[in-house]
């Protein structure tokens, strides 16, 4: 199995072998984090530009660390304090950066399809670091790497994805990837936050937290964006938390003793996750962050490690 794509845009377009290659490459790079000297020369002389039009801590930082550990030069661009603030269009800014010959552009944007647009317009490799409510493939990959380490395999595992599925690119990328790897996925949340016809993606739907988390191997809690309340999709944070917040009581009543609790971050403590669960023994939230660096190293290496992703 060899990587042949120029870009990483979605999990939807990948085949199971490509997903496995990404996960395995990331797994083999994990040991770099444990070294005294956290640097290997694999991407020496390559340039990675982080083009972020939305706020981000862990994704941008982990792409930056990943690039630096592989010896690439990493440049961070954020929309505030740049020409984008002067009204330059997204595409003009991207083409300007493209004209400086980067090898990889990592892009986050609030519009679905932003990364795909750049992939068409720029000759360098594009990594989608989140495009609107569409996809966030590296998040799905780091979730998979975490699950693989804890469970040892993917096939036959059951996962509940709980919360604001409708607006979640994390949920979408994970659903596509998990289905391809033979996992069973249930999405759960209040009806206003579950997309209509989501069953077409091959998932089950539940409108009760207790039912969704019973006997699954993995519970993935999603972040509730505060603006959802302003949009009238939930009556109040308190009510949401009461029905959909994961607490120790609900967990011990319904969940398996070896369940994994995941969350893409940042956590709204006391809303979707009680602090005892977020910091508890089932939680792998910080493992996910650690795996995030390995996954982004793997992605950058596969895209830029061999002639900018188009192997001879």
């Amino acid at each position: 199995m060899a990587w042949t794509r120029k870009d990483l845009l979605t999990m939807r377009e990948l085949d199971p072998g490509e997903i496995q290659l990404l996960v395995e490459t990331a797994a083999s790079l994990e040991e770099i984090a444990t070294r005294d000297i956290k640097k290997v020369p694999a991407l020496r002389g390559k340039t990675v530009v982080n083009l972020f039009y939305e706020a981000s801590t862990r994704t941008r930082t982990s792409f930056e660390i990943a690039g630096k550990w592989l010896s690439a030069d990493v440049i961070n661009f954020s929309a505030s304090g740049s020409s984008a603030g002067k009204g330059e269009s997204f595409l003009d800014t991207a083409k300007t950066i493209g004209a400086m010959s980067p090898d990889v552009v990592v892009v986050r944007h609030s519009s679905a399809g932003a990364a795909a647009l750049l992939a068409r317009e720029l000759t360098c490799s594009i990594v989608n670091a989140g495009d609107g409510a569409h996809e966030h493939p590296t998040q799905a990959l780091l979730d998979l790497l975490t699950i693989r380490e804890k469970k040892g395999h993917f096939d036959g595992l059951s996962v509940a994805i709980v919360g604001d599925v409708a607006h979640s690119r994390v949920a979408r990328s994970n659903i596509h990837a998990m289905k391809k790897l033979g996992m069973t996925v249930t999405v759960a949340g209040p009806p206003t936050l579950i997309p209509p016809n989501v069953q077409e993606l091959g998932v089950k739907v539940s409108y009760r937290l207790d039912d969704a988390i019973r006997d699954v191997d993995v519970i993935m809690m999603l972040r509730l964006q505060h603006e959802r309340m302003a949009g009238g999709l939930i009556p109040s944070l308190r009510e949401y938390s009461r029905y959909w917040g994961l607490t120790l009581d609900k967990l011990s009543a319904q969940a398996r003793p070896d369940v994994l609790i995941m969350h893409p971050g940042p956590v709204n403590r006391g809303v979707e996750l009680s602090p005892e669960v977020a910091d508890g023994p089932y939680s792998v939230i910080l493992d996910q962050v650690t795996k995030g660096v390995a996954v982004r190293m793997g992605v950058l290496f596969l895209l830029a490690g061999s002639r900018g992703g188009s192997p001879a």
Partner: protein
């Protein structure tokens, strides 16, 4: 590691199972002799077959000397100077679960050819710590060096032409123990 993606057919057998085992035994004795015993020795094999040969050598040393020596696995993909020429690379991970600081590290590979793999392996090793000394065991030395690199221990010197390939076939990977010279099938 040196084989391009084309089909090869066997041209000649160089070592059979018994000869391969004798060469390993001799190298094990040479390592003990050169280092006046096994203290402070550590083995690092270059993936994939270098690791297997390193494990065989440490088993021999354990039988001779009673010492159990650590064996690590080194993946040099991230250190290659020819990534651009090789198409999509596969990283298989470095696993060296011991400190190499102040150790005499015996670096083990199956076939020594241009020396570029060893150059990359030396860089990779030194990034992991500062060994007291690094020695090189190459099971087959087939010549054609492009860098000033010379092995300390050799199983067999095997003059070859550049278009040929040398395959060290090992039970653990290939179901048999022998060394063969191969040539491209299109000739």
């Amino acid at each position: 590691m040196n084989r391009p993606a084309q089909h090869f057919r066997e041209k000649a057998q160089v070592l059979d199972e018994a000869a391969l085992d004798r060469a390993l035994t001799r190298i094990a004795h040479e390592i003990l002799e050169r280092n006046a015993g096994a203290s402070d020795l550590a083995f690092v094999g270059i993936r994939t077959r270098g690791v297997t040969i390193a494990q065989r050598l440490t088993a021999k040393i354990a039988a001779i000397d009673g010492t159990t020596l650590p064996v690590g696995a080194l993946d040099i993909t991230l250190y290659r100077d020819d990534l651009d020429m090789r198409g999509a690379p596969v990283v298989r991970g470095t696993d060296i679960p011991f400190s190499i600081k102040d150790k005499t590290v015996v670096l083990v590979d199956d076939v020594l050819f241009t020396g570029r793999t060893i150059r990359a392996a030396l860089d990779a090793l030194i990034d992991l710590g500062r060994p007291k000394m690094i020695q090189l065991a190459s099971f087959i030395d087939r010549g054609h060096r492009e860098l000033p690199i010379r092995p300390d221990y050799v199983g067999k010197n095997l003059p070859t032409s550049r278009r040929e390939s040398v395959a060290v076939r090992l039970r653990e990977h290939d179901g048999e123990d022998r060394v063969v010279i191969e040539e491209p099938e299109d000739v």
